[in-house]
Symmetry: C2
Subunit: 488 residues, 2 copies
C-alpha cells in the first residue's frame, strides 16, 4: 500500500511516520529544500516512540521516497493526505493538480479550520476530498477528525476511516460540517480566554499551564468533559449535575464575549513569558519529554483497556490476527514474544531494570501458556499455572529501544508441573536466562492439581520434541554456584 | 495537627481524606444525616488510591470525628476548609459562626466562582479568609488555586500554602482575584462551546468526549496550553507560533459570543446522550476507572520528574526527611522498603504479577545500597552494583492494596561481591524470598572492581553483624531442588 504525503512539515511528517512504521510505502512531496531534513527529525522521534505502544510485532517499515512533483507523489497511491499551509487558494491549486493525476483516490486534508465544502469548491472530483484532521504529535495521538460534506461518496469516506484504523488511529466521524470541526473549537475557546488572562495580567503562561496540567488536564486525558461531570453529579446522575450548574452559565465566568486585540505588545508579552517558563529546554528536549509522557499515559490506558488505550489494544489484536503462528513444535526453543525496551523499563544505571527481565520472561511464558491452551479463558475457568520458583542469570545489558525476543525451552512437564528455560535475547545473543518451575493450581482451593487433558496433550508434544535439545548449561544452578570463572 | 472540614460532600470528603491520610486529625461538620455515609465512600476511594502515589512510608492516619456543631469542629483547628454550597449568603453565615469561635485560623473556601473579596464581606476577620479551590478527585489531583484579596494577611496565606504542600498539593497562587479564578474560566469556556455543539446537533456528548480524550486531553495532562503550542512553533519558537495563529482569532471558530438557553429540552438532550454513553457503568465504577487512570498518569509523571509528578517526588522527599533511619546495623534483617501493591502490579489471576516481586526486591536493595553509600551519587561517579544472579521463591499471594515490606539479610560480602537474601513480607509473613549475587562494577570498563573503601566499611559492619543470623533455609537452593515436601 502506498500513501502520498503532500506537505512535509511537523504534521505531514507525523502522517508519513505513522504510515511508514505501519508498513506502508510513502511518497512525500514538499518543494521546501529543507523538507527531507525536517521530515527526518520527525521520523526519528516517531521511531523512538510509536513502537513503544505496540505489543504485537510491528511490520517491516515501508519505503520512503521524496517525489519531485505532485503527479509523481500521488501516482498509484491508495491514500493521499494534504498538510500544506492554511491557505484556501493554495489548497485549491494543490487539489486541482492532484486530481488531474488521481481523481478518485481518497484525499484527506489536515486543515484545522476549513470545512470540507470549502475545500471541495471548484474541484474536479469533490466526492473524494474530505477533512482528516490529526493532532500533534500525529504519530502518537490517535484522534483524526473525519469530516465529509454532502458531496462526499460515503463508501470512500468509510474506506478512508478503515485505512486510518489500519495505521492505529481513531477516526472520529464529524456528522455535520462546522468551522474548526469539534476539538479545535474547544482549543480556540481556551486560547481566547488564556490570551485575556495574560493580557490583563491575571496569570502568566506558566501559571496558566500549571492550572491546566495539575488539575483538569489529567482528567481529560482519560475521560472527557461530560463523563467527568457525570461523576461529579454523583449517583443522582447527569441531570442533577446540570440542574446544579446550569444557572452559572449567565455568571461572568469568562471574557469570551470579546476578542483581545492581537498586537505586537501581546505577542512580546506571551513570547517573553513562555521563554521564562520553558526556555531552559530546547524544542527537541520538550518533544522527547512530551513523547515519553504520552507513551506512559497511553500505556496506562492500554493496561485498563480504556479510551485511547482501547484503540491500541484493538490495533494489536488486528495485527496479531494477521501474524503467522510463532513456531511449530519441533526440537527448537519456541520464540513466543517480541518486545521493545520502553522508557519506564530503564533504571538509574541507564539499563533495563532487573525486574523487567522477569517481566519480559512473563510475557514469554504467558504467550506460551496461551499457545498450549492455558490462557485467559482457562484462568476464567478457575485453573492457572503459578510460578513457584525462578532462577535468573544476567548475561548482558539491554538499553532503551532495544528489540528483545523471548523463547521457551521445556525442560520437563508432568500433570502438575512445568519446568521451563526462557532466553531473553537481543540480536540473537542472550541478555538473560530464566529457569522456572510452574505449578498447575486449582485457584479456588489454592493447591496444585492436574492440568486439563487437552493442555497436557499439547504440552506433552512440545516436551517430547524438546527432549532432543541439549540441556542449558546453567539449568540447575544456584546463586553463587561454582564456575570455572572464579570461586564462590 | 487538626483540620476542620465544613461541608462533607464529594469535595469536603476529598479534603478530609487528604488530611487524614497525611496524618492530620480531622473534624467534619455537615448537618446532612447522610454525611458520615457519603464521606465514608469518598474515604474508601481515597484509601485505595492516594497511598499508591507514595514511595515513602505514609504516616499513620489521623483520627476522624463528626462534630455536632461548627464551634466544636473548628476548636483547636490549625486549618479550616469550607466546602458548602455555592450560595454567598450561606457562606457568610457559616463564616460568622466559624470566626466567632476561631477568628484567626486560616479559612480556605472551595468556591469555584466567588472572589475572596466577596467571601470576606462583613466578616469578623477578613484577613484569614481566602479561596482554596481544589479539583475533583481532591485526594488525587494536586491543584489548589489559592486566591487572596488585598485584605488578606500575606503571612497567613503563605502558611496556608505550606499546609497544602504538606498534604501533597500544589498551591497555585492566583495574584489577582477574578471570577472563577483561572482553571474554571477555561472549563466554563469549553462547557459553553460544548453545550452549543450538543444543542445544534453537531456532536453528541460521547463524540465530544472522544474529541477531547483521544487528542488534546492527553497533551494537557503533562504540558499545558502554552508549552504545547511552543513545541508546535518548532525551533522558531513561541513568537513564530503566535504570528502563524494570531489571525485566526477573528475567524468564526467558536460560538462563544452567545450563551445557549438552558432549558429542559437541553437538559434532557444532554442527560439522555450521557446515559447512552456511560450508563453501562455505575458512578462508583466510573470513579474507580478514573482513579486508576489518574494514578497511572501521575506515576508516569513521577517517573519523569515532570509536572504533577514533581509534586509527588517532592512530597516523598519531604516525608523521607522526617522519617527515622530504617534500622540499626544489628543482628536482624534490615527493613529497607515499605510498599503498597498498585493496580498496575496485578496480573490476570488477580494477584501481584511475578515480575513485581523482583521489583519490590529491587526497591529494597536500592534502598540498602543508598544506606551503604552506593546510591545515585555513587552511580554518577561511574560505579554501581549490578545483579548477576537471582533465585526467587514464591511463598504467598499479594493482592491489590496489600502493604509489603522488604528486608535485607547480608549472607556474604567481599571487595567485589555482595550476596543478599531479601524477604518480601505481608503482615510479617514472607510472600516471596529472593537470594541475589551482586557484583560491584566499573561502569565505563564494564567489569567488576573493588568498591570504594567507605562503602566496604559500611557493608563490612553489616555483614559482620548479620553473621550471627541463622542462614535462611532456602539459600543455595536451585530450581526443582529436592525438599521434604515432594520429589523433583
Amino acid at each position: 500500500m502506498k500513501a502520498a504525503i503532500i506537505g512535509g512539515g511537523v504534521i505531514g511528517g507525523g502522517w508519513a511516520a505513522r504510515f511508514l512504521l505501519n508498513g506502508w510505502d510513502v511518497a512525500v512531496f514538499d518543494p521546501d529544500p529543507e523538507a527531507p531534513r525536517k521530515l527526518g527529525e520527525v521520523l526519528a522521534n516517531a521511531r523512538a516512540a510509536l513502537p513503544a505502544l505496540s505489543d504485537a510485532p510491528m511490520p517491516d517499515n515501508g519505503s520512503l521516497t521524496f517525489a519531485s512533483n505532485l503527479k509523481e507523489a500521488v501516482q498509484n497511491a491508495d491514500y493521499i493526505q494534504e498538510s500544506v499551509s492554511e491557505d484556501l487558494a493554495l489548497k485549491h491549486r494543490v487539489y486541482a493538480e492532484i486530481q488531474h493525476a488521481a481523481p478518485d483516490t481518497p484525499l484527506g486534508s489536515s486543515t484545522s479550520g476549513f470545512k470540507p465544502s470549502e475545500l471541495q469548491q471548484g474541484a474536479l472530483n469533490p466526492a473524494s476530498i474530505f477533512v482528516a484532521h490529526p493532532f500533534n504529535p500525529v504519530y502518537l495521538l490517535p484522534l483524526a477528525e473525519i469530516v465529509p460534506s454532502i458531496k462526499n461518496d460515503p463508501k470512500l469516506v468509510e474506506s478512508a476511516k478503515e485505512i486510518l484504523r489500519e495505521i492505529g488511529m481513531f477516526p472520529l466521524h464529524v456528522r455535520k460540517e462546522i468551522d474548526a470541526h469539534i476539538a479545535d473549537r474547544f482549543l480556540e475557546a481556551v486560547w481566547r480566554e488564556a490570551l485575556w488572562l495574560v493580557k490583563d495580567g491575571i496569570a502568566t503562561t506558566e501559571e496558566i499551564d500549571e492550572a491546566i496540567r495539575m488539575g483538569f488536564g489529567l482528567r481529560w486525558g482519560q475521560m472527557g468533559l461530560f463523563e467527568t461531570y457525570r461523576i461529579a453529579g454523583g449517583e443522582a446522575g447527569m441531570k442533577h449535575f446540570l440542574e446544579q450548574f446550569g444557572p452559572c452559565l449567565t455568571w461572568p465566568w469568562t471574557r469570551l464575549t470579546d476578542v483581545p486585540e492581537f498586537n505586537d505588545e501581546l505577542v512580546d508579552l506571551i513570547a517573553g513569558q513562555s521563554d521564562a517558563q520553558s526556555g531552559q529546554h530546547s524544542i527537541r528536549e520538550l518533544e522527547r519529554i512530551r513523547d515519553r509522557n504520552l507513551i506512559g499515559f497511553l500505556r496506562v490506558l492500554k493496561d485498563s483497556n480504556w479510551g485511547a488505550g482501547r484503540v491500541l489494544l484493538e490495533h494489536d489484536a488486528r495485527r496479531r490476527a494477521t501474524a503467522p503462528d510463532p513456531s511449530p513444535d519441533t526440537a527448537a526453543p519456541m520464540v513466543m514474544a517480541h518486545m521493545q525496551v520502553l522508557p519506564g523499563w530503564i533504571d538509574y544505571n541507564g539499563h533495563m531494570t532487573e525486574s523487567r527481565y522477569l517481566f519480559a520472561s512473563s510475557e514469554t511464558s504467558d504467550a506460551f501458556l496461551r499457545h498450549i491452551g492455558a490462557g485467559m479463558d482457562y484462568v476464567a475457568g478457575g485453573h492457572s499455572y503459578y510460578t513457584a520458583e525462578t532462577h535468573i542469570m544476567h548475561l548482558g545489558e539491554a538499553k532503551l529501544g532495544d528489540r528483545l525476543t523471548g523463547s521457551v525451552q521445556v525442560l520437563g512437564a508432568d500433570e502438575k508441573r512445568l519446568h521451563v528455560f526462557i532466553r531473553i535475547e537481543k540480536d540473537g545473543a542472550p541478555v538473560a536466562t530464566l529457569e522456572q518451575m510452574l505449578l498447575h493450581v486449582d485457584m479456588a482451593k489454592g493447591r496444585a492439581c492436574p492440568a486439563a487433558p487437552e493442555v497436557l496433550a499439547r504440552l506433552g508434544a512440545i516436551r517430547d520434541a524438546h527432549a532432543a535439545l541439549p540441556r542449558p548449561e546453567t539449568a540447575g544452578r544456584h546463586v553463587g554456584h561454582q564456575t570455572g570463572r572464579g570461586k564462590s
